[in-house]
């Protein structure tokens, strides 16, 4: 008979202790040994209030490694637009060497500005969600802090070559670092080129060269100065979305309407050029071992150009214009629909841009312009382009500074500082290619019919009838001037069992528009400065970490902050006039999360529940509105959203060399109210309507999967090779709703039982899909000094070509015939691979 006894945990008390010094032998201790002389005596009392001070400290949560959930999602689910917690891009902060890299107009940082410089932008400090930040007040999605200075790179050279079929075909990177030399200097240089004749989607390509230089001088153990400069010069030819009808006609889910043949060569009409050279000067003052003071200043001068094909007095050049599709004739002229269907299936000139036809149209358009530049009698006869390639340009000059202190004072860690930026964003349009013509005329064709006043439809009444040549600015020309200044502070307090923190931010922002072109529609309100709008904002944040023991932690965080109205939406029509939207309100954010971290050696995990709310967001689009038959500026204000859900990231090591990763994200991202919409006629400034209720409540936020799951298995061999396979699942991807369809005006004619009701109000949910990725690699050590690595990875191993990665509802819609302008989609790439060799010496 066996009895099984289980022990009950015994109570253990901790006694406070103190010691007494006895320098002399007590009188009744004649037998005390020689060695007891001068040895302190220690005695225990039962004072429990001091138990804490003798208790073993539990270390704070370590977070140097990449978060399992975020890194899995960012890598394996990028093709379907994975976004952490579905949050908008302006809720993340990216800093390099202390400078916030945000474009203040867009609200987010563009990673492409240092694209290709992977070698020197590695190992960022990433914290996600509501989190303390020691560098600035971080927003609700968290921050990425990249410390990129010459002294941080190991001495040596690294060369890599990669071959791929996804974006670039070839990539070469070369990095060399001197390491910190004995004279106190360190230099690191890096350069890379990404080249392709064609990327995965037909008619696209990607070419870039990137450069990086960092020089650092360690003046002494206290002061150090670093100058880091970099830029990436990128040109990429884009892919456009299309309706499913078009994909079906062409028989290819990767059909791209943005290119065509010109004299037998592929040419893309929608090209983006981006170059944003940046220089950052950083001073690090290690005042003491416990205090650092870091000051940075930066200047960035950027050029961003995005082309498209435009036309005047000619057929729409867009091959997928709705009147070029068989569906448009299905009911009225079925025979013609048949012919079109055949052409779509077989004729590349039906499918793609007809460059040769554009040139022919331009060659044949001999035109006389009267009163060129408004000079009476100054006439010009030449080929007036009906088609041109034009570019929307944004040149930016961004000045930034930041200064902050980090200091440990006993159990407190104190951070605080100030930062500011001064930004000028110059927006203008240029004529890139006249396509065989001699000039283009800069008229607002939508304004043409409204009046006989010939100045009214001029975009530049100071140079009416100007002959626009290649490279000339036309259409619109204005600066947006933005300033932002912030003061912030944070206190962290660490005890043996609990860490707490609180942070506060106060900021001032201002914006104004400075028009550089006098527009005929708004002669008094287009050129010159608009009034300045200023915003005073604040943020508070706090949280606690309860350290159950060194293997289990629970954290809870909450924040509330305000920020200015989205600067992309704050002007009704910034291309033409100085008017602001109304009302202008601060956006508000209330965010909270609760997390559990487990670290059991063989198992690492994070489980999170988050709840975020945003209020007073804005929405602004300019598009051709079918009901009013004109271009409208459509604005929604007071938009509220909510993001809540759970995240789980888990990594387990088992057997010998196996690592399993499992991630799960289950979220709900929705609109939570009924915002008000207003619309303005773009060509006159007449308000078409205001205070129109948009029934957006409970519609899903589109553009990102709300449910994601992943399961990865990787084997690491003792012989330095590895192989992994990853199963990725994504679901609940919705298409962002066109607000105007969810209004009484849109459905006024219908009853819930009518099919049009659902066609107008329904929100499309994209089908759930899964993909499989795999990777394999091996590293070699050569002569104990050099390392060679070979890595191969494959995404979408099953070559699934039916995955819709995102879609849009067309803004133009016909309330009488909702299916006339169906949704457009983009399909995720099929099987893509990357093979990389890197060599360190």
């Amino acid at each position: 008979m066996k009895k099984l006894f289980l022990l009950i945990g015994s109570l253990s008390f901790c006694y406070q202790s103190y010691f007494t010094q006895t320098d002399s032998i007590p009188s009744d201790t004649a037998k005390t040994k020689e060695e007891d002389f001068h040895i302190p005596v220690y005695s225990v009392t039962s004072d429990e209030s001091d138990a804490e001070s003798n208790a073993q400290d539990i270390a704070s949560l370590l977070q140097a490694s990449r978060d399992i959930y975020l890194s899995y999602g960012s890598f394996h689910l990028a093709s379907v637009n994975f976004r952490l917690r579905g949050l908008p891009a302006d809720q993340s902060m990216v800093m390099i060497n202390g400078i916030n890299m945000v474009n203040p107009e867009l609200g987010y940082a563009s990673w492409s500005n240092w694209g290709g410089l992977n070698d020197v932008m590695r190992f960022p400090e990433i914290r996600i969600g509501v989190t303390p930040s020691r560098y600035a007040f971080s927003p609700s999605a968290g921050y990425t802090f990249i410390d990129s200075r010459a002294s941080l790179f190991k001495k040596g050279t690294r060369f890599s070559y990669a071959n791929s079929n996804r974006i670039f075909q070839h990539r070469v990177m070369l990095t060399h670092s001197t390491g910190m030399m004995s004279n106190g200097w360190a230099i690191t240089v890096s350069a890379s080129a990404r080249l392709s004749d064609t990327s995965y989607y037909p008619g696209t390509y990607f070419n870039s060269q990137s450069y990086y230089l960092s020089i650092e001088k360690r003046i002494n153990d206290q002061h150090s100065i670093a100058l880091t400069a970099f830029y990436a010069d990128i040109e990429r030819a884009r892919k456009g979305m299309a309706t499913q009808e078009v994909y079906n006609l062409v028989g290819n889910n990767f059909y791209n309407p943005y290119w065509g043949y010109q004299q037998g060569k592929k040419r893309n009409g929608y090209i983006t050029n981006n170059a944003h050279p940046t220089a950052i000067l950083t001073h690090i003052n290690t005042i003491s071992e416990k205090t650092k003071w870091i000051t940075s200043a930066s200047f960035s001068y950027g050029k961003n150009k995005s082309t498209n094909v435009t036309w005047y007095d000619a057929a729409n050049p867009n091959p997928i214009y709705y009147k070029y599709l068989p569906s448009y004739y299905a009911n009225t002229n079925p025979a013609y629909a048949q012919i079109l269907t055949q052409l779509w299936k077989t004729d590349v000139n039906t499918q793609q841009l007809r460059w040769d036809d554009f040139y022919q149209a331009n060659y044949g358009n001999l035109f006389t312009v009267f009163d060129v530049d408004g000079v009476p009698g100054k006439n010009f006869e030449g080929k007036r382009s009906k088609y041109i390639v034009q570019a929307n340009n944004t040149d930016s000059k961004i000045f930034n500074f930041s200064s902050y202190i980090n200091s440990r004072i006993d159990k407190f860690f104190v951070s605080g500082g100030i930062n500011g930026s001064y930004n000028i964003l110059h927006h203008y349009k240029t004529a890139e290619d006249l396509l065989g013509g001699d000039f283009w005329l800069d008229y607002d064709i939508f304004a043409r019919g409204l009046t006989t006043d010939y100045l009214y439809y001029q975009n530049d009444i100071e140079h009416p009838n100007k002959l626009i040549r290649k490279g000339d600015i036309f259409g619109y020309n204005y600066n947006i001037n933005i300033q932002r200044y912030e003061g912030w502070g944070q206190v962290e307090y660490n005890t043996a069992k609990v860490d707490v923190y609180g942070a506060l931010s106060l900021s001032y922002s201002s914006i104004f528009r400075d028009g550089l072109m006098k527009n005929g529609k708004f002669p008094d309100n287009s050129k010159g400065k608009s009034p300045t709008k200023t915003f005073f904002n604040y943020g508070i944040k706090g949280g606690a970490t309860y350290k159950i023991n060194g293997k289990n932690y629970v954290t809870i965080n909450a924040m509330y902050n305000t920020k200015p109205t989205d600067f992309q939406n704050i002007f009704i029509s910034p291309q033409t006039r100085n008017d602001y939207i109304n009302p202008i309100q601060n956006e508000e954010c209330l965010a909270s999360d609760i997390n559990y971290y487990a670290n059991f050696g063989f198992l690492k995990a994070r489980a999170t529940y988050y709840f975020y709310q945003y209020k007073n967001l804005t929405y602004l689009r300019s598009y051709f509105h079918d009901a009013y038959n004109t271009i409208v500026n459509y604005i929604m204000t007071g938009v509220n959203t909510q993001h809540q859900g759970i995240e789980l990231g888990l990594e387990a090591k088992f057997l010998r060399g196996f690592t399993a990763t499992a991630v799960l994200g289950y979220g709900e991202f929705i609109y939570t109210n009924r915002p008000l919409a207003q619309a303005w006629r773009n060509n006159s400034g007449e308000q078409l309507f205001s205070d129109r209720t948009v029934y957006l409540k409970n519609y899903k936020i589109g553009g990102t999967p709300q449910t994601v799951a992943g399961l990865g298995l990787r084997y690491n061999s003792k012989k330095f090779w590895y192989a992994g396979v990853y199963f990725n699942y994504f679901a609940d991807m919705y298409i962002e709703p066109n607000p105007d369809r969810r209004t009484e005006a849109a459905i006024s004619k219908y009853l819930p039982s009518d099919p049009q009701w659902q066609q107008l109000l329904g929100q499309e949910k994209l089908p759930a899909k899964y993909t499989i990725d795999a990777n394999i690699g091996k590293s070699f050590r050569i002569k104990h000094k050099y390392t060679l690595g070979i890595n191969g990875s494959v995404s979408n191993l099953l070559n699934n070509k039916t995955i819709i990665s995102n879609g849009i509802e067309q803004l133009r819609y016909d309330a009488n015939d909702p299916m006339k302008f169906p949704n457009k989609y983009n399909y995720a790439m099929g099987l893509t691979y990357m093979l990389m060799i890197n060599f360190n010496f």
Binding site: L6, P40, A64, P124, G601
Partner: protein, 349 residues
Amino acid sequence: MKRYWSLLFVSFFVSFTFAQKLEKGTNYHIVVVGFWNVENLYDTIDDPKKDDQEFLPNGTNLWNTSRYLRKLDHLAEVIKQMGEEFTPDGPAVLGMCEIENINVLKDLAKQEKIANRNYQAILIEGPDARGVDPALMYNPKYFKPEKSVSYHVKLVTDSAHKTRDILVVYGKLLGEPFAFLVNHWPSRRGGEEASRPNRIAAAKIARHIADSITASNPNIKIMIMGDYNDDPINESIKKYIRTYDDLKRTRDDEFFNPMEKLYKKGIGTLAYQDQWNLFDQILINKPLLPSDYSTLQYFDVKIFNKPFVRNDFGNFRGYPFRTIVGGNYQGGYSDHFAVYVGLARKVKK
């Protein structure tokens, strides 16, 4: 056959201590015995017989006098505070490793913060290519050494490279016979599994030494300490030294490992990829187990991980505050936390 199952009640406690019960109101003498891997304690002088090139003023670490002195001051600061809660004398005996030579220990002993303790040092130069060795510092008021020996450890996986010896020091600690084994086992370079046979080989040697000592004198108190490059639950410790973690279930022929329970709670002495390892341990034999404290016996274990020895800046905050990371001078303490145990003996009346 019947089996009775009882419900297990487990109580959770905020107070986080592994202290044994010392009687209230009784006077004890406390001896603190510690161990610390101090991370590359080198002087600035070139020793032609060793590869100390990195740690010279013109070496890759730019190891000059001011950095050397700051390091000594930092180490002294920690040594001063180790065990201060029990005795103002701090550690009576301190095993150390990654020591270049006896001179650096002499310099360390003279540091202002600990000079009054008059620390002495024992170090035997071994065959390690980088020239670092384990060592023992002791307060002569508490410990009188009698004999010191070192034992070679042979690498199983790589006969070309040499690793650190095991230092054994015999002596009297407050009059009682003690033997201290100071270890620095082979690293995990190349992978834990691949290098495991080396640490097992070291474990066998350590265990053999301990067995020989016990065979000739069963009452001698043995403390096997070191940076084992293995955690308390790894084979080398559990199976080859043979250790147990629970004082309620003692085993006569095994060593008690006070660090094992700490390790299971996630406390560690160094971190890698956000996980704590507890490579630095002090193992004690049967005569040291707590009973009546009529002789020196174990009562508490601590890891010295106070905020000031932790890195406070950057992505690796919370990790031990190191002196050098990847060739970059940080000016901290060590990549390992120090550990210590408290021994107590009732004051005789």
